[in-house]
Symmetry: C2
Subunit: 376 residues, 2 copies
């Protein structure tokens, strides 16, 4: 018997009480009872987002919401500035191009955060419709300086800040309104601790003004249609009712934990994993701006990181992630966002130490785990 | 104590074993274990669809798949022929227009099926890229003659038949390949007996040829991207893993019941409801081509159908559907697709008889239910 342990940066484990909540008989969405659920979820999402704006719900993966954020605010021929320091930054660029939007890409070396000054320069040169950036770039384990980027964008009346917080909302403090983030995107299968299939996004007044002018074709992902519906506690199309039912409970549980405690728990887990890695001589892939959601760590010299991933799967029934593209085989990534606590960090790092030892890496066994225990 | 009974045409009840299957701990989708699930689901979906073509999976509602069917095969300036005999026919037209596709609408009186001869005439007049039609139009309770329509479309090399079978697949016999249906769309929350959030669609070789020429902008709903991924037993974007896990069990259960038995069960339920209605003097909204998935029935003269819906909700904790648009207040709709048996029909009709009596309709109580009992 070896329990399955999901330690990748999403999908993440769903709490037991949420699994059973979603296993209740299905609701019809056009009923007063479900409208009440929608209203509660809306109130609590605004709390989580730290926003007064509507938080729209889409039946899609996070990518659907990324597409929605662009096609509802841009028009063909507009130009957007995309921070591309990983797979998800790259995705914003691909979406823009697919819809005839010009894309200026600010290439950032994988493992590094974008320089705020580089954004500043770009904004001075051209009229951008949007600046698109990840709060946490999952492929590289980097946090970008979204507070500073949003502050710059505020100075341009027809430029909005679109932040992909799919692996960041509920993990680090992102006061949407205070920082002036126009569109903040999240997905259910990350810190929201739900199965994938529901995306959420907040939309500012500034973004709605752009929406009035946007000519990109859209129907399923038309946010203005969703805005009308959310006002009546419903959605334009049949929503994923079981996920929304689960989300209500997740948000209730989050309110009990509190934002500060939630951010602190995540910060402690992330720091302990980084300290554990360093304690046994491993190097971080993103040492300067490491993500609080996912730790990207170099495999020791001469060891393919894919072998570590495979070893954990086969010996410990555990899923962690390999690197992607150029980082494949070089790094491994551990997710610690959502339904995790410090003893989960002990478990994953124990498995990693054992695997590294089996793969021939020389180090003092237990030295990494000791760092996590000290932080308990 | 009054059990909740969901008798609307979708979402439909989820079987107990499927609810608990989906309540199991969440999987990661990029794992050999989940790829095996995807492969099994693909095999069984081909069986259900009666097709050799790939059946693609989208994280969206059925509307997302309707949009995907058009934007992947058409280009701005192309013309499509849309059978519009209800809310869902209308939706195809709206999607086409949103993407710059010209739409010729074949208006059909609500409650009636489209005349095949009308399609024949249209096809002779113009080069259509697609003919779009509902197998079962949920808003009116009508079945359109999709076999005959697909047979006509076959004669035109660059015209495809797009069939929305969201409330028909698994209910009535639709041999996709034999009838030559190019794109057949379904959604999880109907006869697939799952929560909403997963859409499926099969795509023929003829449709893929159009996909090579299609210039409508697309990214999230790009079917060519999905085609590449399904070949590797995965999806382009994070899939709704819990729904797919549930779908595997649903399809296994369906194979045990068998297609013939499944179609017969639905036909018997639908006929019994129609007979029950007629037995107490009610008129069918779609007497000539009634849907096997949903029965649309006129409320008695002088009784607002909304009152029947409300009465069932308040007295019996039961959800049925009102009419929409012009039919609102005139008809009520009972769903009988998916996880239902004949004793469910007895229950819903008993509640309807009691409500009608309470609302002042004069008839012999029990006479409708007797028709259902006779068919047990």
């Amino acid at each position: 018997m070896m329990k399955y342990r999901l330690m990748a940066p999403g999908p993440t484990p769903v709490p037991e009480d949420v699994l059973t909540e979603m296993a209740k008989p299905i609701w019809h969405h056009r009923t007063p009872a479900f409208e009440k659920v929608m209203a509660e979820v809306q109130t609590d999402l605004k709390w989580l987002y730290q926003t007064k704006n509507d938080v729209l719900l889409l039946s899609s993966s996070g990518t659907g919401a990324m597409e929605a954020s662009l096609i509802n605010t841009c028009s063909p021929g507009d130009t957007i500035l995309v921070v591309d320091g990983g797979k998800f930054g790259e995705r914003f660029a691909k979406i823009g191009k697919a819809f005839g939007v010009n894309v200026d890409t600010l290439k950032v070396t994988w493992g590094q955060a974008v320089a705020v000054s580089a954004i500043d320069e770009k904004l001075k040169q051209k009229d951008y419709r949007a600046v698109c950036v990840q709060a946490s770039e999952t492929s590289t384990g980097v946090e970008h300086p979204i507070k500073e980027i949003a502050a710059l964008v505020k100075n341009y009346p027809s430029t909005i800040a679109i932040v992909d917080a799919i692996t960041a909302l509920g993990v680090i403090n992102i006061p949407t309104d205070e920082w002036g983030i126009d569109i903040l995107i999240c997905g259910s299968q990350k810190a929201l601790m739900l199965p994938p299939g529901l995306a959420t996004l907040s939309v500012s007044d500034k973004a709605w003004l752009l929406a009035d002018k946007s000519t990109c074709p859209k129907f399923y992902l038309n946010l203005k249609t969703e805005r009308k519906n959310i006002a009546a506690n419903t959605t334009a199309w049949t929503p994923p009712v079981s996920l929304i039912q689960g989300l209500r409970l997740v948000l209730q549980n989050m309110r009990k934990e509190g934002l500060e405690a939630m951010f602190k728990r995540h910060a402690t887990m992330a720091a302990s994993i980084r300290n554990a890695a360093k304690a046994i001589g491993l190097k971080l892939y993103a040492p300067e701006a490491p993500s609080t959601s996912v730790s990207a760590i170099y495999a020791p010299d001469g060891i393919d990181s894919g072998k570590i991933v495979k070893n954990l799967r086969e010996k410990f029934n555990m899923t962690i992630a390999n690197g992607q593209d150029d980082a494949k085989g070089k790094i491994f990534r551990i997710g610690h966002l959502g339904y995790y606590d410090m003893l989960d960090m002990v478990a994953v790092w124990s498995a990693i130490e054992k695997s590294l030892a089996d793969l021939g890496y020389k180090f003092e066994i237990g030295k990494g785990v000791a760092e996590i225990i000290k932080a308990l």
